[in-house]
Amino acid sequence: MSAPCRLPARVLSNERAASDTYWLELDAPPIAETAVPGQFVMIGFGLQDLDAPFLPRPFSIGWRGEDGRIGLLVRRFGPGTHRLAALRAGEEVLLLGPLGRGFEWETGRALVCVAGGVGLAPFLFLAPEAIRNGASVSILYGERTGDRVFDPRLVEQLTGVRPDLYTEDGSIGRAGRVIDGIERGTESCLFGCGPTPMLKALERLAREAELSLQVSVEEHMGCGIGTCQGCVVRSSTGDWIKSCTEGPVFRREELAWPD
């Protein structure tokens, strides 16, 4: 893992990819060169204007290009993500990254990536890297409604993997929850990223089936680099541990999973 850098980065493109969902490409060579899948960036808007939002926002690195580009999958939620969704090519944001600990895998393993919503992002980056490392990768991708689905053909184009798609409203892909797609009793490594209820269900399943599982968690962050202690999650030993530096990816055994 290399040291993070601070980088004013130009927006190369920002395209609506689905309802409330944007694919944002930034020119960020130092980050693109050193990032590993599961790591994230903090995107800030600088101190010159006092525009809201004030704090920077964390986003998984969703892709990297040979040419120094990185791609982020951004879903509109509050003011920060609204602002990101409105970015136009040529504008600048302030990046800090790559940050945190990414996913880990052994070559040759079968990796099952379980993505809820924009939890898909880290796997767009992971899949091609892991495949290049000789792993086999499958992606289970769920959304609440069909209009929010990031086009599976695009996923395939970016990753080489055609995702198994689930929507709760059944409008595209299979009807149901992504978790239903997991085959119990496999020898595979589970990777999860998505809303907390999904991660909890995943953990229960992995625990019961004694599967290996790594999850990427989301907590409010201040600094993103371990100084402010803002981003803690409960560890299995009962301590508060920083998700920005000790995570955001944790093995399931490292965390407490209260009901």
Binding site: L94, H220, V233
Partner: protein
Amino acid sequence: MAGLTQQLWGVEFQSPVLLASGTCGYGQEYAGLIPLDELGGIVTKAVSVEPRPGNPPHRVAETPGGMINAIGLQNVGLERFREEKLPWLAENLDRSHVLVNVVGHTADDFATVVADLDDAEGFLGYEINVSCPNVKGGTLFGTDPEALGELVRRVRGSTDRPVIVKLTPNVPDIAVYARVCEDAGADGLSTINTFPGMLIDVDARRPVIGNLSGGVSGPAILPMGVYLTWQAARAVEIPIIGIGGIRTARDALQYVLAGASLVQVGTALFVDPDVAINVHREISTYLDQQGVARLADLVGALETSGHV
């Protein structure tokens, strides 16, 4: 080029800009990102006798023009600070100064930390945090003149290093507290810590912050910080470190004109780690433009004649 150095507490500060406690960890985390050794210095995260587990999440959230935090003074504790954190600071910071932010439940706690660290290397002095609103009873020393005086005398008696007291803003008249500290032997004051605040998630009908309430920092508190610094500076002779909402050289210079010899930047670091060095450079440029030879000439130089 204008002189930005300040002579204080028997040492020279090469820059008036320090990093505020709780926003720069123990320095190491920002090592690759911020030229720490070019700054005035850093103030460590609060150190207490025992390690503190801290508060449940969420610990931080955005507020209009700032943020709220309730870390709960999570820290590694005196022993690990001494063994693991101070050596790094001693080794890596040559020209910039370290203040150790100290916190405790009792005057004894404070004195224990100070006495135990005093012969270690890697720091200049102490910033006594009597004002963190996040831990139960944490406002006690900072809002009770008698307890404050007692505490400062206790700490004063435990060390020959500089003792700087960081004041709490939510008092009717900060001058009273400033004088109490000076009389009790404090070498300086830091003004100000965060304001108690609360944020409610209307949908969940719950506080956003795990600890219910927290401390508000960032640009939103700038005018309050400048005011309180001015009030404190008029009340005492000891040097003052201005803190609260600084993100530009002009913000910092407001504190300087109000009477601060040094400043600290905190929350703005999260938005841009370069803020501290940028503020330093912009102050330098500004002084040159204005033909001011030394920053020291601006300390407390606020002109109020002709005003009410």
